[in-house]
């Protein structure tokens, strides 16, 4: 075989672009607007705190990604540190809840955005229509959007920072509001907005699974994540500070689409139309991604015996996995049965944030455990000032979980549903590991075995064909 080495293609700036691109979503802009509405200009402080905490977390991920290259997600780092139960929980608790909650939130936000442009179009109808369109498109196996989606949405999202500059320089034609104070809600409320702030940055660690594409990963990953976080902070704060200059805080705090309201305040009707279009496109992209990709994974899992066989059904006429597509669509559409208010959307987002924060805690614990168990393992990148970043990061995540929202009623609702999600995942993980796979729950997988599993999965020439699995 005339073999060769694949080039590492992602440099420093490409890695930053990947990280930044991943975290920009409509739900991020909703939390940005809502945060500024609740906290006023002072929201910049919890947002900055959340950025610093994200940097601490990013350092842990950088160490793990360099120590265990080729790993796909946090479960690969957790299995050798804490065992398989924690690994499954870290993956499903973060990712499945995120997919469900964020997918629903995206469609709801898009529905309300379009309703702002076209009052005759009810938000639920628009949200449902987006989901139905991509349901049908994917059932029929039609390619829609494609690469255009990537370019269009990225360009639109880049305008957030531009809108911010336009607003702060007074170029958008908006009328500044009067009587704006720096910290209208008080320091007590402000301290409870950090979790809202963390949503601005969740996802920056998605750079890590691409570690094998990145040139000089031991230097690039950490630097790119940190600079990416700073870029997101600056762009979001420019837009946020411009929003509060031209929009009543109450409107931002209570609107289901505060970013659209804010854009209208900054730049009038053009701002409204532009950001509404961006919101719709971003939501459509998210929904399309989930409905197109995840059923294919369910198809594969069913073929491997990990899911009921029905998920391996491919409609012979349209040649698409109908059962998987229906299941994913139902999951995303289920929250449409709820009444759409800003509270609904923020609740969904913060439920996902809480389970994601648990995933972050697990990742940072992984660093500490692996340092103790494998002190001599190769670590091309080591977190500076270890274990200070990990201890501070864990403490910050715990704090954010407990102070998830200033409103006690909403806080209790978020804890309830996040807790229920966690319980369901735990029960599934225990049943799956103990009774189906007959594996231990808490015994860590030896690091060299985990590295071997990752290598075998990646390069079958080392040991023959390998079962595909979720990475």
């Amino acid at each position: 075989m005339a073999g060769g080495e694949l080039k590492r293609t992602l440099g420093f700036w490409g890695t930053i672009a990947t990280g930044v691109g991943l975290v920009v979503a409509s739900s991020t802009l909703v939390t940005l607007g809502n945060g500024f509405g609740l906290g006023g200009p002072a929201f910049i402080i919890p947002a900055l705190a959340a950025c610093v905490i994200s940097i601490l977390i990013a350092l842990s991920y950088a160490e793990l990604a360099n120590m265990i290259p080729g790993a796909g997600m946090v479960g690969d780092y957790t299995a050798p540190a804490l065992g398989r139960l924690a690994a499954i929980f870290a993956v499903l608790g973060g990712y499945v809840v995120l997919a469900f909650a964020a997918g629903a939130a995206e469609s709801l936000v898009a529905g309300v955005s379009i309703n702002g442009l076209v009052p005759a179009a009810p938000p639920l109808l628009v949200a449902g229509a987006i989901i139905i369109v991509f349901f049908v498109v994917n059932m029929l196996g039609v390619e829609l959007f494609g690469k255009t989606q990537v370019v269009l949405t990225s360009v639109l999202m880049a305008t957030i920072a531009v809108l911010g500059v336009v607003g702060l320089l007074g170029l958008g034609g908006g009328t500044p509001v009067s009587g704006l104070t720096f910290n209208p809600g008080g320091w007590g409320q402000l301290s409870q907005l950090v979790t809202l702030g963390i949503w601005l940055y969740i996802g920056i660690e998605f750079v890590c699974p691409m570690s094998e594409e990145i040139r000089n990963p031991e230097r690039t990953i950490a630097r790119a994540m940190i600079i990416g976080l700073v870029v997101i902070f600056v762009a979001d704060m420019l837009f946020g500070l411009a929003m509060v200059r031209y929009t009543d805080l109450e409107a931002l705090a209570t609107s289901t689409t505060p970013h659209v309201v804010g854009a209208e305040g900054i730049a009038g009707n053009p701002g409204l139309v532009w950001v509404s279009a961006m919101t719709l496109l971003a939501a459509a992209s998210s929904i399309d991604t989930l409905i197109a990709a995840i059923p294919r994974m369910l198809y594969g899992l069913a073929r491997e015996g990990m899911l009921p066989r029905i998920f391996a059904y491919v409609n012979p006429r349209f040649r698409t996995p109908w059962v998987g597509i229906c299941a994913v669509t139902l999951l995303i559409a289920a929250p449409l049965a709820l009444a759409i208010t800003i509270d609904t959307i923020i609740t969904l987002i913060l439920i996902a944030a809480v389970t994601w924060l648990v995933s972050y805690i697990i990742a940072q614990v992984d660093v500490i455990v692996l340092r103790r168990k494998y002190p001599d393992a190769r670590r091309p990148f080591k977190t500076p000032f270890y274990p200070v970043p990990q201890v501070l990061g864990i403490a910050a995540c715990v704090y954010m979980i407990f102070s998830v929202h200033p409103d006690p009623a909403m806080r209790n609702t978020i804890w309830l549903f996040a807790g229920l999600s966690a319980l369901v995942i735990l029960v599934y993980a225990v049943v799956w590991l103990k009774f189906v796979k007959k594996m231990t729950l808490f015994t860590p997988v030896p690091l060299d075995e985990e590295l071997k599993i990752i290598r075998e999965h990646s390069d079958p020439t080392e040991s023959g064909p390998v079962d595909a699995r979720i990475t």
């Binding site: 075989m1 293609t9 990712y95 995120l98 023959g464």
Partner: protein, 210 residues
């Protein structure tokens, strides 16, 4: 004599570094997933004669084709569809205009399959399509492998048919949010069925009008 060749545009030559074909760059993880499938065909007696960034060129005494990924872009995901492509040269006089045969399935439960021709020389194409359909090869393949698409394009400039078969299994998914990388494994019986289909199809196409 090898009657067909992989339909692979832009393959570089003479380089020890894996090069990128015209189809676009695959991630390393996707490339490794693709290699898994190439290994499966190697276990059936084929040889990988060339490894490109998005393709493996496989050959044995009767058949050669390229195994590659076609990339579907989404904002937050990449879906790599497994594709087996080959060129089958025409043995004699051939249509001067192009046509394309694509798999059509009729009935909601997929009761019947055939190939439909489209293009300037669609009448000639339909004769070829009917010959392939009558052979039962497509039905046999569909009974063993979930198919995503099958197309047979007549390229008059090359005097050859370009076959592209996409089975449903074998795809690789890379989702950014939530972060998922998953390879849908092609099973050995499916690889056997794909290889047999391509070998038999090239025989039918080469037999021309007889």
């Amino acid at each position: 004599m090898k009657p067909n060749k992989p339909a692979f545009p832009g393959a570089a030559s003479g380089s020890s570094e894996v090069s990128s074909p015209a189809g676009g760059r695959a991630s390393r993880q996707a490339h490794r997933a693709l290699r898994q499938h190439a290994v499966l065909f190697e276990a059936l007696g084929m040889r990988t004669t060339r490894e490109l960034e998005n393709a493996f060129l496989l050959e044995d005494d009767d058949l050669s084709f390229s195994l590659e990924y076609g990339l579907r872009w989404r904002l937050l995901s990449r879906i790599y569809n497994l594709r087996a492509t080959m060129e089958v040269a025409s043995p004699g006089p051939h249509a001067g205009a192009p046509y394309r045969l694509t798999l059509k399935t009729r009935g909601l439960v997929g009761a019947s399959r055939d190939l439909a021709a489209a293009g300037p020389a669609d009448k000639e194409g339909q004769r070829v399509a009917d010959r392939v359909t009558a052979s039962g090869l497509v039905d046999e393949l569909a009974g063993k492998v979930d198919l995503e698409s099958l197309s047979i394009a007549w390229v008059p400039e090359s005097g050859a048919w370009r076959v592209a078969l996409e089975p449903y299994p074998g795809s690789y998914i890379h989702v950014l949010l939530p972060p998922i990388r998953y390879a849908v494994r092609l099973k050995e019986p499916e690889a056997v069925a794909v290889r047999a289909f391509l070998a038999d199809l090239s025989g039918i196409l080469r037999r021309g009008k007889s």
